[in-house]
Amino acid sequence: MSTSGLEDLYREIILDHYRNPRNRGSMDVPPSQRIEAYNPLCGDEVVVYLLENNGVLEDIKIEGQGCSISQSSASLMSAAVKGKTTEEARKIISDFKKLMSIHESRMEDTKDIDSGNANNSVDSDDTAADGINENEIGSADDAQMDVDLDAMGELAALQGVVRFPVRIKCAILAWNALAEGLDEIEVSADHPGTSK
């Protein structure tokens, strides 16, 4: 990692995706799925539209507003999963979670907050003081080492977020929406091969 955390956080790729978000827009529902993710702590909001056909994410659109990290992460995510199979998309989500040094349980915890059902600190005046703390991401570097950064392409640009624990929530907002969308697709499509 570079010596300046800030430069690591606001890399050029991130700022580019923030200024020129990819796959911006909406789609008709149905046939697409629409999933909202909202961070009540800071007001970040991401809406993901997914159009799946025969197990392939044929199209994805993103709406929403928020900070550079939440919005660039959504844009980077859309570019990464568009045209991929749902299984491939799941793998990308899993890799991204590792990049954020979030173990499965943590992802579930933050998901509660995103769906607005958190029973603590929802109305905190803090931007995002609760949740993930330094101790919980103590194994950050270990978890990140499991990830093949080269294979992640542009997504790897978000790795600097890990050094700013309160911003991890911003980065994973769109990803929680995507994961929820994939769940919905699996349930509604009732594909026999997708159950584990």
Partner: protein, 417 residues
């Protein structure tokens, strides 16, 4: 507030020495703390007083007959007197209730007075610039009791629109209004609102969380019936808030929470509540916090509240001027464009940089500002945003803090250019 000519300049360098964080730094690095509207720092004397109390004087209050317990009683009741005198309460011994914070103080009114006095169709008036602590309890009464809520709106110049004040408060039972907005810095003409409310037969609740720490506030001059404020925003500890209420009103109210300390007698058939103010202090109260609050009030009194508000006003004027000079059209200040009727809180937007990003870049320069909705979501909606970046001042800030704020903002502007 007294005439500015009777005030003296604060010796901020000397004041900073009373706050180890500000004189010695955060992990050894000098820090610019611009988040006092959320919570102030506290001087060493407050902390020393509290640890002195814990080390040598602690016992539970209202229980013991031994000398140590009497000492704790005396210190706790002294705090009540100090808090009352600080806001000009005519009868502090009966009119000051210690709570957990200003929020609990307002909830106490909503539950104890509101739940018993308000019925379906009764009118409660709130303002668009108030924060959740002075909105949510009333909205909950609306939901629970069918109370009608009316809202005094904000004008585009960030002041309250009082053109229809008489009509708005007409028939109201209660009017709740902040003494100073925690987002905009706006100090509404409270007396005017209180007079209109009283003419309409309503009682008046003042939320003093922001103004009481910064200016001379006198409940009799304000003309309010209740005043709520918090210890931790006025150099005191967290975990203590103050409710002042007119004695006859408090006396007419049933208990808020039940437990030890708030009753005269308990039978399985029923209870006999205690006299005010202990009727509203169920369980062991925040004793050490009350003792710390006394020390904070003594510190503020020594500096002088008129000197503090003048200092805040001057620093705010300097900062707004510097922001405009440095960033021109790129800076938007969401607050009154005046130094009159305005406190030391500046909500700002720089270009279209998200407040969250702004706060993050500023943090790299150890400049602490707040980014978020500031627990004022209705106001955020009115401002057409989900969050603002907010810098707020107190007696330990000076123009060097402003200069570092502006330097850090310039850095953010270059990153997100």
């Amino acid at each position: 507030m007294k005439d500015a000519t009777t005030t003296t300049q604060l010796d901020v360098e000397a004041i900073k020495q009373d706050f180890p964080l500000l004189s010695k730094g955060f992990h050894g690095e000098s820090i610019v703390y611009l988040d006092s509207a959320a919570s102030s720092q506290r001087p060493t004397c407050v902390i020393d007083t509290m640890s002195g109390y814990y080390n040598y004087s602690h016992a539970n209050v209202h229980r013991g007959v031994y000398k140590l317990a009497e000492e704790a009683d005396r210190l706790y009741e002294n705090a009540r007197m100090a808090a009352g005198r600080f806001i000009g309460a005519p009868d502090p011994a009966r009119e000051i209730v210690f709570t957990k914070n200003a929020t609990e103080a307002i909830n106490l009114i909503a539950y104890s007075w509101g739940m018993h006095r308000l019925h379906e169709g009764d009118v409660v008036v709130v303002t668009e610039i108030d924060h959740h602590a002075n909105l949510v309890p009333w909205i909950m009464l609306h939901e629970a009791r069918g109370v009608e809520l009316r809202v005094i709106p904000m004008r585009d110049d960030y002041l309250l629109d009082l053109d229809n004040l008489e009509e708005t408060v007409d028939g109201a039972k209660l009017v709740a209004c902040t003494l100073m907005s925690n987002v905009l810095g706006t100090i509404p003409p409270f007396r005017k609102i209180a007079d209109a409310a009283h003419n309409a037969g309503a009682i008046v609740v003042a939320d003093g969380a922001q103004l009481v720490p910064h200016a001379h506030v006198d409940v009799q001059e304000l003309g309010c019936d209740f005043l709520a404020f918090s210890g931790h925003k006025m150099l005191g500890p967290t975990g203590i808030g103050v409710l002042w209420g007119k004695a006859d009103l408090l006396d007419s109210m049933p208990p808020f929470m039940g437990g030890g300390g708030m009753i005269l007698d308990v039978k399985f058939e029923g209870i006999v509540p205690a006299e005010i103010p202990t009727r509203f202090e169920a369980g062991t109260p925040p004793i050490a916090e009350a003792v710390g609050l006394t020390a904070a009030i003594e510190y503020l009194d020594k500096i002088g509240m008129d000197n503090i508000i003048r200092h805040d006003t001057e620093l705010t004027a300097y900062t707004i001027e510097s922001l405009k000079e440095t960033f021109g059209g790129d800076i938007t200040i969401m607050g009154p464009d005046t130094t009159e009727n305005r406190g030391g809180v500046i909500s700002l937007a720089l270009k279209d940089i998200h407040p969250h990003d702004l706060a993050q870049v500023l943090d790299e320069s150890n400049v602490c500002i707040r980014a978020g909705h500031h627990c004022a979501k209705p106001l955020m909606r009115r401002l057409g945003t989900s969050a603002t970046a907010r810098a707020s001042f107190y007696l330990y800030n000076d123009t060097s803090d402003t200069d570092r704020l502006i330097e850090a903002l310039a850095k953010a502007a270059s990153i997100f250019g």
